[in-house]
């Protein structure tokens, strides 16, 4: 299956809290690497979620190799798998690196720190934090000769801030518009916006099939479009398993499952049945049917969003590294990577 996003160099992954944004970002990075791409996955919220996801030590402000993609191809040894590097971006380090890369400040650079300027810029100065974070992401996508010996990546995946904040986060020139109308910061912000608004960027939104996350996804898409930022796909995460056939679901919802028949079936395979057990199974089925119905109604809304959708199943045991590779394979098969 070929990718729906062949031209995209920067995959931004956002989503409402608790929907599995980091999981999707990590799986997408692995999926891209499985196609022979060298990928950088960045996190910007200081949570070290990627390190936990890949089961490695907390990430420093340095591109760190954390995984390789799966070997794919018809004979299992076809494409040479790519790599996944990870980078934890914090605003202080990003600012110092930026200053070192673009300005030869020398002693003045140290003085900036001593006078609390670095602290001011990264914690108190409005909007600067976001610009520093997005600035580093931009640098990783569009490497130039100033960063000597740096790896050239085929794709960058950003584990971005949540849906409610994503447009503001990426819309750096608007954020700075009130502050710097001219000058070096303004032109830097404009260059960044050119990339973020181009078809080389895609903002993917992760959701679960519940009312509020789906609503926030719809709102998020609208905001992104209004800001001229390219909307990618919607990844529907944590989808419930579909163990029950549709007709059984309807019966379960109505409380009309044939419990006697189920009991006989269980007895036949040697499960010691009690009324409590059979009633319990029917109650679980009813509960499940109710949730599935809710999911279906939300899925219909997601379908109306008019963007490509991808789907990941809920794993009862939680996510581990093996699970990530499974999710990566699913995303690749569905064409996100």
């Amino acid at each position: 299956m070929s990718s729906d996003w062949p031209r995209v160099r920067l995959h931004v992954v956002t989503g409402k809290g608790g929907t599995g944004k980091t999981t999707v970002a990590a799986s997408l990075a692995l999926a891209l690497a499985s196609q022979g791409k060298n990928v950088l996955v960045c996190e910007v919220e200081g949570r070290q979620g990627l390190a936990r996801m890949f089961d490695v030590d907390p990430l420093p402000y340095a591109e760190t190799l954390i995984a390789t993609g799966l070997r794919t191809g018809p004979d299992g040894a076809g494409t040479r798998p790519g790599t996944v590097h990870a980078l934890h971006i914090d605003p202080e380090s990003a600012l110092l690196e930026y200053l070192a890369m673009y300005y030869r400040l020398g002693r003045a650079g140290k003085a900036l720190d001593r006078f609390g300027v670095i602290e001011f810029a990264t914690t108190i100065a409005p909007g600067v934090r976001d610009v520093l974070l997005t600035g580093k992401v931009f640098e990783a996508v569009q490497r130039n000769s100033r960063n000597k010996g740096a790896i050239q990546y085929d794709a960058v995946v950003l584990d971005a801030p949540p849906t409610g904040r994503i447009t503001q986060f990426l819309n750096v020139s608007d954020e700075l518009a009130g502050l710097a109308k001219v000058g070096p910061i303004k032109s830097q912000a404009d260059t960044m916006m050119t990339l973020f608004r181009s078809p080389r960027t895609a903002v993917h939104l992760v959701t679960v099939l519940e009312e509020m996350p789906v609503q926030e996804t719809a709102d998020g898409i609208e905001e992104l479009r209004a800001a001229g930022l390219p909307v990618g796909g919607v990844i529907v995460n944590l989808v419930r398993p579909r163990d029950l056939p549709d007709d059984a679901l309807a019966l379960a919802a109505a409380g009309k499952l044939d419990k006697e028949a189920v009991r006989a079936e269980l007895d036949a395979v040697g499960v010691s049945t009690t009324k409590t057990l059979v009633d319990g199974l029917a109650a679980e089925a009813r509960d499940h049917a109710e949730r599935r119905a809710l999911e279906e109604s939300q899925r219909a809304l997601v379908d109306q969003l008019g963007v490509p959708t991808y789907e990941l199943e809920r794993l009862a045991g939680g996510i581990d590294l093996g699970g990530l590779y499974d999710l990566a394979a699913t995303l690749r098969d569905q064409g996100l990577a």
Partner: protein
């Protein structure tokens, strides 16, 4: 690990037994007239807004005069309480059962107008005008991460003072933003102080206050570097901004310290909200430690969205094995297919329960004695008072 590990029959989060962690007595908390403020904190997506609203509604219907303050920009509370528009003024919520003598108002924090109010109350009219029009102020008051948390606490302070004076409310429930910075308000007084006393302010004020005296070699270097990086215009705006704010900062600091003291006072109760997921519980652990460290009164932990405990006793392994036996018989038929499906569904739920129980046991082992209330996941979303009442009942169930 607790000796009661994830064994079949008591694996459910609802099977919390007395030895593990004490139950959070929600009704005792909201009925106690000494409880004046409840702050709900926790990571995003755990149902914090719903929990705050449900607590507020339950307290109101049990006779308290309650106001609930939400600062979530997604307007979820507005949706869940059936209110179309929330602004910076508390509005009465319709259809609250007032037979016990209580009432419920709700409001959504407007970060910018709260900030503006503070400036207006602290500065002379000319100075206030200069600040309100400065580009740095405009960005700071609308989009600076951390302003929201801080302004929520400012608003809490205002409502509290107002309530004290006029007897408008006897309980304030506060929802917090969905991020780790939800605890930024704890740092606000200190951050403000270190900023005020810091060199940066002096640096910015230096030219205005007499460059000849203060312009050391280092200062010249820094100003030069800033001009190079920022451009001269931005630097001038910044200096004007800092100079204007300088006069009102003292007031800010005093207010921040008062709010901090209010949060530590005995009438305040923090409720940490989580879901049975690794990230949410890790954040909850962070909140609990942080609150203890700052001597903030922690009432307990609410674990939302817990999987309900099944009734029958059948382990995940047994259920899967039986499902496979049914399918192995070949022509299973419709009943066979249904039964196998039910068994797989059950196995899935048992595995989820075991995972949740292990996560909670880990939290309890590290934080014994944190009173806990477990709320099972509801099959459908909560978006009306009826739903909130139901959540309130589940919260209070012991």
């Amino acid at each position: 690990m607790s000796p009661a590990g994830p064994r079949q029959g008591r694996v459910g989060p609802l099977a919390a037994h007395p030895g593990e962690s004490p139950a959070l007595d929600v009704d005792a908390l909201i009925d106690d007239p000494q409880t004046r403020i409840i702050v709900c904190c926790g990571s995003g997506g755990v149902g914090k807004t719903t929990t705050s609203a449900a607590l507020a509604l339950r307290a109101a219907e049990r006779g308290r005069k309650v106001v609930v303050l939400t600062i979530d920009p997604a307007r979820r509370l507005a949706q869940s309480m059936g209110i179309e528009e929330l602004d910076n003024t508390p509005r009465p919520v319709a259809d609250v059962d007032a037979t016990a003598g209580g009432s419920l108002d709700a409001m959504m924090l407007d970060m910018k107008s709260t900030f503006d109010e503070v400036v207006l109350s602290q500065a002379t009219p000319e100075k206030a005008k200069a600040i309100l029009e400065n580009p740095f102020y405009i960005v700071l008051s609308t989009s600076f991460a951390g302003t929201q948390e801080y302004m929520a606490m400012e608003k809490l302070g205002q409502i509290h003072a107002d309530a004290q004076e006029r007897g408008t409310y006897d309980l304030i429930v506060v929802d917090t933003p969905p991020s780790r910075s939800a605890l930024d308000f704890l740092d606000a007084p200190e951050r403000l102080s270190s900023f005020l006393d810091g060199r940066f302010i002096r640096l910015m004020l230096a030219p205005a206050k007499g460059p000849a005296k203060l312009m050391t070699a280092g200062l010249g270097l820094v100003t030069g570097a800033l001009t190079k990086v920022l451009g001269a215009q931005v630097l001038t705006d910044l200096q004007t901004f800092v100079a204007a704010l300088d006069t009102v900062f003292g007031g800010f600091r005093a207010r921040a310290q008062r709010t901090y003291a209010l949060l530590q006072a005995p009438g305040t109760a923090f409720v940490v909200v989580a879901a049975p997921e690794p990230d949410a519980l890790r954040e909850a652990a962070y909140f609990v430690e942080r609150l203890n460290g700052d001597r903030m009164p922690l009432a307990g932990l609410v674990v939302n969205r817990a999987s309900p405990e099944p009734r029958g006793k059948l382990s995940a392994e047994e259920a899967l094995a039986a499902a496979e036996r049914i399918e192995a018989r070949g022509s299973a038929g419709a009943t066979g297919e249904l039964t196998a499906g039910l068994l797989r569904l059950h196995a899935d739920r048992m595995r989820t329960l075991a995972r949740e129980a292990a996560l909670r046991a880990r939290f309890t082992a590290a934080h014994p004695g944190v009173a806990t209330a477990v709320v099972p996941a509801l099959a459908s979303d909560v978006h009306d008072l009826r739903g909130l009442r139901r959540v309130g009942e589940l919260l209070a169930r012991r």
